[in-house]
């Protein structure tokens, strides 16, 4: 998905960015974004307040991460090695969809493999879709595709 900053961070002409994470979310979420400015590219997390489909405007702009609750996330299967088995992140009080959490983890720990759809989230021991909203207090785990028995 491609988005535009409604309020550019500075007059330094950051005019567009690509939101690399999922695009089905409306609300506050951190997105991994690729910023283009004067031919330079950078990757960072932006707090996006409304996220819509390709080619449309994304309101909000770069800002600090929302304060929230610290959450311990565990990983199983192949993906576990990239995180040493577990990781801690801050979850906004309003919650965060699985896709947003994946983007946050990918950016924070520099592990793009977690963005893959085959890496599935389990919340409170049940598999959930990418759009499922994780709330503070949930037990969240990411599982690589199972090998079977």
């Amino acid at each position: 998905m491609r988005g535009f900053l409604a309020r550019p961070a500075s007059p330094a002409a950051i005019t567009e960015y690509n939101v690399l994470s999922d695009d089905q979310w409306h609300g506050v979420m951190p997105c991994v974004c690729q910023i283009k400015s004067r031919g330079l590219q950078a990757r960072l997390i932006l707090a996006v307040t409304s996220c819509i489909r390709y080619g449309k405007r994304v309101s909000g702009g770069p800002g600090p991460m929302v304060d929230g609750e610290r959450m311990q996330i565990e990983f199983y299967g192949r993906i576990a090695a990239s995180f040493g088995g577990a990781a801690q992140v801050e979850i906004p009080e309003a919650g965060l969809p699985v896709s947003g959490l994946k983007a946050l983890l990918a950016s924070r720990f520099n592990v793009d493999a977690v963005l893959h759809r085959a890496v599935r989230a389990a919340v409170n021991n049940e598999f959930v879709p990418e759009s499922h909203v994780i709330r503070p207090g949930d037990t969240v785990e990411f599982l690589s595709p199972v090998s079977g028995g």
């Binding site: 192949r78 199972v146 090998s147």
Partner: protein
């Protein structure tokens, strides 16, 4: 964990050390007394990898809660789908060496045909859906294993929706 469903019983177990096959089958037979057939299948660790290299160890990582739940769900599905009296699924986790038993499936029923079918069905589902992550160790180092095309085709033979996995 053994559960009764309408007079039939399901036993699912995650074993951290060698499976006592004889004791498990005896227990299955006693759980379904008076039935005419007990069918069992043992899966064992191969000595060669798919690439033909010698295998030193097979390691099955598991999830502290979801793995046993998946074994239980698959065993119950076998019991529901076929006219059988008891199903046992005992699955290893951890490190194993070639020749060791990874999985034991046992089915007791009035007639052998249903017992064979149920065991076959339970194995096909275990091979693709059981919550395990497999690695093989050998002179090549370490390698992750995923279900094969053939495992997937075997699973599809039963013409069922994926059961929530």
């Amino acid at each position: 964990m053994t559960r009764e469903i309408q007079g039939q019983s399901v036993h699912a177990e995650l074993a951290t050390s060698a499976i006592d096959v004889a004791a498990q089958l005896e227990e299955l037979r006693l759980r379904a007394p008076g039935h005419g057939a007990v069918v069992s299948f043992q899966g064992t660790v191969r000595s060669l990898t798919k690439q033909g290299e010698p295998l030193e160890q097979l390691i099955l990582d598991h999830h502290p809660r979801m793995t046993l739940a998946s074994l239980q769900r698959i065993a119950e599905a076998g019991l529901r789908r076929f006219e059988v009296s008891a199903v046992s699924v005992v699955h290893r986790c951890g490190a194993m060496t070639p020749g060791e038993v990874i999985v034991l499936v046992g089915v007791a029923s009035d007639h052998r045909r249903e017992a064979f079918l149920a065991a076959d069905y339970v194995m096909d589902r275990l091979k693709t859906e059981a919550v395990f992550w497999k690695r093989e160790l050998g002179p090549f180092g370490e390698r992750w294993i995923e279900p094969t095309e053939r495992d997937m085709m075997d699973r599809e033979r039963w013409n069922e929706e994926d059961a929530g996995n």
